[in-house]
Subunit: 286 residues, 2 copies
């Protein structure tokens, strides 16, 4: 197995990709903020399956964190990340610096009007502007054929798909199913911040989604009822604070009232000080 | 001389570029709104000098026109444009359709906070958002190594340079000097709308810029004085309406008070109903 390449320089990354494209190699890309877990590894495996070469990036992007959010305390373990990426067979770990990516005078941002004004976008002003901007930057530097994103960040995936289509990026976006612990908790770098009690409480997110699917199967099609049930269930656990629980159209993210087609149920809940998200497609015909 | 290719389809354009890149050909690009004049041809010649293949686009971009602006009456003569592009030796004229470029649900825009809030941006709300967005789209479809823009649209050039740097487009931007009629009028597709009297009046823009450089040479370094002189001179011509006359830093476009280094003097003036722009670098050491 050839040693993995660690690339910090933007120019070097661009040159690496150009070299491999000239050789006829296809390139897949998985952007991450590091502190890799099974969820990332699963995206990376998918990326490897889809192309000749796999590039992953590790960059904790300051512009997608709001005031009071956990930018400064975002968990990190680069050496472990490099090892995990190498084990999975990634070809490059791209770790740009903040100074290179946001030089003095930086002033260009990408925005959408509609999709960010739902779900997480409502409580995280500017978050998706930061996400779109960094993803476009990474796309331009890495120049991949394919990029893989997790369905766990459902809104992010919808927004990236829209951006890629609207700005004509010549990149195929692959959405990859949420990877869960055996007990159902969605994998997240932020899970590492949970105490063991909070870890148990956190299971209420996935449990409430499964309950919703079961209730729907018993022909309760009112979104308000399913949301109310989930809110009651999660709130019955100590130390939880619901940011939102929504049932919405998977493409537009507009609220749905009566569930007569597949919809997405999405939620963000603080467990202690750790904000967790989860979602599930609810299907009345399942 | 091989016949010029007219490409309407986005996919076909992207494939054309990919094919030529694989062959090792470099590609230069000149985006236009058509109704080509000597100014465009000069950009195209520069493009040809700089790369193996030259692509020009013709697309009157609706999102950069505001309400009441001249989108519907923007002059057009595609057959003449194709002939001119062919004569200059362009390889492709790319003419995407509005429906392909702005499909239903389009919702992604590129913005800057600083540079657009000067000069033309102040009276043309949303104009530069439209320009940045369409240029990014064209860059992604055409995928050039080099793009050539005229210095006549000084603010546009500054904004595009900022965008390319900030979003890490791997494209070299070349600014090309304003092409003028023999009497000094800056070439513009909109000149075709001037009556012969207005055509003479329009000369006052360039004349006022030259006067400013001469006055500066005589050691009058106050921007306010130079601007006042220019405003008086232009206003003395019937049917003129000044939108702005500014003297500013060429990089930040911030106003300059005392001219102790090269600055840009820029103006927008309506002659009848036709809005014209012009600019000149004023240099105290010239």
């Amino acid at each position: 197995m050839p040693a993995i390449e660690i690339i910090r320089s933007l120019t070097e990354m661009t040159n690496w990709s150009a070299r491999h494209r000239r050789k006829g190699n296809s390139i897949s890309f998985v952007p991450t903020m590091g502190f890799l877990h099974e969820g990332h590894l699963s995206l990376m495996k998918e990326g490897k399956r889809q192309a000749d070469k796999l590039v992953i990036s590790i960059f904790v992007n300051p512009t997608q964190f709001g005031p009071g959010e956990d930018f400064d305390s975002y968990p990190s373990d680069l050496d472990r990340d490099f090892k995990l990426a190498e084990d999975i067979g990634a070809d490059v770990v791209f770790t740009p610096t903040k100074a290179d990516f946001y030089p003095q005078g930086f002033d260009t941002f990408i925005n959408q009007e509609k999709l960010p004004n739902h779900l997480c976008g409502l409580s995280r002003a500017g978050h998706f502007q930061g996400v779109m901007t960094i993803v476009a930057k990474l796309f331009n530097v890495v120049n991949p054929d394919i990029a893989v994103f997790g369905e766990k960040d459902f809104q992010q995936l919808a927004i990236i798909r829209r951006m890629v289509k609207d700005l004509n990026f010549n990149i195929r976006i692959i959405g990859h199913p949420t990877v869960r612990e055996t007990d159902g908790l969605a994998r997240s770098s932020r899970n590492s911040k949970l105490t063991s009690d909070q870890r148990i409480t956190a299971l209420s997110l996935f449990a409430s989604l499964e309950k919703a699917q079961n209730t729907l199967k018993s022909e309760e099609t009112s979104a308000a009822v399913l949301i109310g049930n989930a809110a009651d269930f999660i709130s019955s656990h100590p130390g939880t604070e619901i940011d939102y629980i929504k049932i919405c159209d998977p493409d537009t993210l507009d609220d749905v009232t009566i569930i007569d087609r597949p919809v997405v149920m999405a939620m963000a809940v603080k467990v202690g000080t750790t904000r967790l998200i989860d979602n599930m497609i609810l299907n009345p015909d399942k």
